[in-house]
């Protein structure tokens, strides 16, 4: 005769955040845990809301470029590019060739820098003591030094302008960039060697946080999260902007949509970005104008609205711009990829262990400022 005793268990509910030991920003998850398994997750955002969209309504089109930097603070050039292309579309401007090439070079270098930051934070979540973080940041520092030589600042560049660039790049730009790219290759090789075939990483990240292709499209994923699930969709190929239609690059695609695939996709994207940068350096015109001709000192785009989207390192970054013909935008709405990815966090985490919740959050690669704006 067996006596079955039911053990009364309570689900424990606790906070992860807003102060994180990992480096994702002020984000709070309220986890409800049954033993080790996460039963419920509630993300709480808004800790970093600074009113960027409303502030942009008080600024003219040149001042708002600074706010774009600060919204997407890890891939600043990508955000600036989206914004200036949006305004140029509204005004019907034609950007000179040299400016386009320089823009794409800087944008792709910034993509590499952003993915390096992801590698660092991801490995810090995993528990690699800090080694990969240092390797990634060594390469990031080289790029930040290059950006400082070009634009003046290491992070908040404010370098793109409507119609082109603020000022020309220094004379040694091509050699410097080639040298940086060569160093970055070594950094990517380091990261690859340290993590890709690592059995501990495979054990920790295979099959964790799975979102298959159908679910990813349903939840509105984009960027590396979508490509990790197997959907071959890249805005640089689907709706080419700037000069991407002249460049050859592959689109890395994962299989399962788990955390390991997201890591592999971002690693491969870094390699493809290196390829793009080298092609641009070869194809770039040696000199030429860097600003579209005939611009007034104060920009007044014609009344109208435009939605421009670009492929950010995090996904599809969109700017919806409404202009009433004045020198300040009437409405500047930012569509941020991290916001949409966080909506699906609950689906990805529930059913896994608590230690996995941290890794899944790390694999989404959020930038809190674009979630909260």
């Amino acid at each position: 005769m067996t006596i079955e005793r039911e053990l009364e268990t309570i689900d424990v509910s606790f906070n992860v955040g807003p102060q994180h030991p990992a480096t994702h920003g002020v984000f709070r998850m309220v986890l409800t845990v049954d033993g080790e398994v996460v039963v419920e997750l509630e993300p709480v955002i808004g800790y970093l809301h600074r009113g960027a969209e409303k502030l942009s309504e008080n600024c003219d089109y040149r001042q708002a470029i600074g706010f774009q930097d600060r919204t997407e603070y890890l891939s600043q050039f990508n955000a600036e590019l989206c914004y200036v292309i949006a305004v140029e579309k509204l005004m019907g401007l034609e950007v000179p060739e040299r400016a386009e090439y320089i823009r794409v070079i800087l944008t792709e270098l910034n993509r590499i820098a952003s993915h390096l930051m992801f590698m660092g934070a991801f490995s810090a979540d995993l528990g690699v003591f800090g080694t990969l973080f240092m390797y990634a940041f060594r390469e990031r520092e080289r790029m930040q030094d290059l950006f400082e030589e070009i634009s003046g600042d290491r992070m908040m560049y404010s370098y793109f302008r409507v119609g082109g660039l603020a000022w020309d790049v220094p004379e040694d730009f091509v050699e410097r960039t080639r040298w940086v790219v060569q160093q970055v290759r070594q950094g990517i090789a380091d990261i690859d060697g340290l993590l890709t075939k690592n059995e501990v990483l495979l054990a920790r990240t295979r099959g964790i946080g799975v979102m298959n292709a159908e679910q990813s499209i349903d939840w509105g994923f984009s960027g590396p999260m979508l490509r990790a699930a197997g959907v071959r969709h890249d805005l640089r190929r689907a709706e080419p902007y700037s000069i991407y239609d002249r460049l050859e690059f592959d689109i890395p695609v994962g299989e399962n949509g788990d955390v390991y695939d997201r890591y592999i996709v971002r690693l491969e994207e870094m390699r493809q970005s290196v390829r793009i940068v080298e092609q641009c350096l070869d194809q770039m015109p040696k000199d030429g104008p860097i600003v579209a001709p005939g611009l007034k000192r104060v920009l007044r785009p014609p009344a109208g609205e435009v939605y421009m989207r670009t492929e950010n390192p995090r996904g599809e970054y969109g700017i919806y711009l409404v202009s009433k013909g004045t020198d300040k935008p009437y409405r500047l709405k930012i569509r941020s990829p991290s916001f949409c990815h966080l909506a699906a966090l609950r689906n990805m985490v529930v059913g896994h262990y608590v230690a996995d919740a941290v890794i899944i959050l790390g694999s989404v690669d959020i930038v809190l400022c674009e979630v909260d704006r």
Binding site: C59, D60, R62, Q63, A64, I65, G66, F67, R70, P96, T131, Y135, R138, E141, D145, E148, E149, I150, S151, G152, D153, M156, S158, R161, V162, G163, L165, A166, W167, D168, P170, D190, G193, L194, L195, T196, K197, N198, E199, V200, L201, L202, P289, I290, V291, A292, P293, G294, L295, K296, R297, L299
Partner: protein, 180 residues
């Protein structure tokens, strides 16, 4: 197993490379020419007064509204020593708000303000936030003592989106606008 050995060999190979960090307060890296520190005003040594006339264009275009400027009649103009009719009376910049976006430099008609590209433009630490509000004399100090040797001025016309003012006689240091 092989993946673990690969990871270990990667870290071992890193030991054989030189460390990339430097001891910062003892060693300062060389700042590039275009680096954007905090804004400072320039002193016109020929006429012995600031370049700034207090026209408030920079204060109007500042995205964070960190500057306040007032102008007054230039006593030197009345004496005939200077061509500037007005001169800056009071000029406050709140460094705590400034985001070093370079717009004030781009819009200034008199090339009077520039971002400090030396280490003193970066190492501005104070214990009290109110000490970060610099007034006219603090802003002129760097230029007056002659340590601002090579400020970065983009060739006029680029950042102005193709627009350039008519070149004036005394501002001979402008490069010709190579806009288009």
């Amino acid at each position: 197993m092989l993946g673990l050995f690969r990871a270990l060999s990667t870290t071992l190979s890193a030991v054989l490379r030189k460390p990339v960090t430097v001891q910062y307060p003892a060693v300062h890296k060389e700042l590039p020419h275009r680096t954007r520190g905090f804004p400072v005003l320039l002193w016109d040594f020929e006429v012995d007064e600031p370049f700034c006339t207090g026209c408030q264009v920079c204060a109007r275009y500042c995205p964070t509204e960190c500057m306040s400027v007032t102008m007054k009649d230039n006593p030197k103009h009345a004496e005939g020593k200077s061509k500037r009719r007005k001169i800056v009376d009071r000029f406050y910049i709140d460094y705590a708000r400034c985001m070093r976006c370079n717009i004030c430099v781009e819009v200034c008609n008199f090339d009077a303000i520039v971002l400090n590209n030396s280490w003193s433009g970066h190492e501005v630490s104070r214990y009290d936030r109110r000490d970060l509000v610099y007034d006219r004399e603090d802003l002129l100090a760097e230029s007056k003592e002659g340590s601002l040797t090579n400020p970065f001025r983009e060739p006029l016309g680029m950042a102005h989106s193709g627009w350039s003012p008519k070149p004036r006689g005394e501002k001979a240091e402008e490069e010709e606008p190579s806009g288009e």
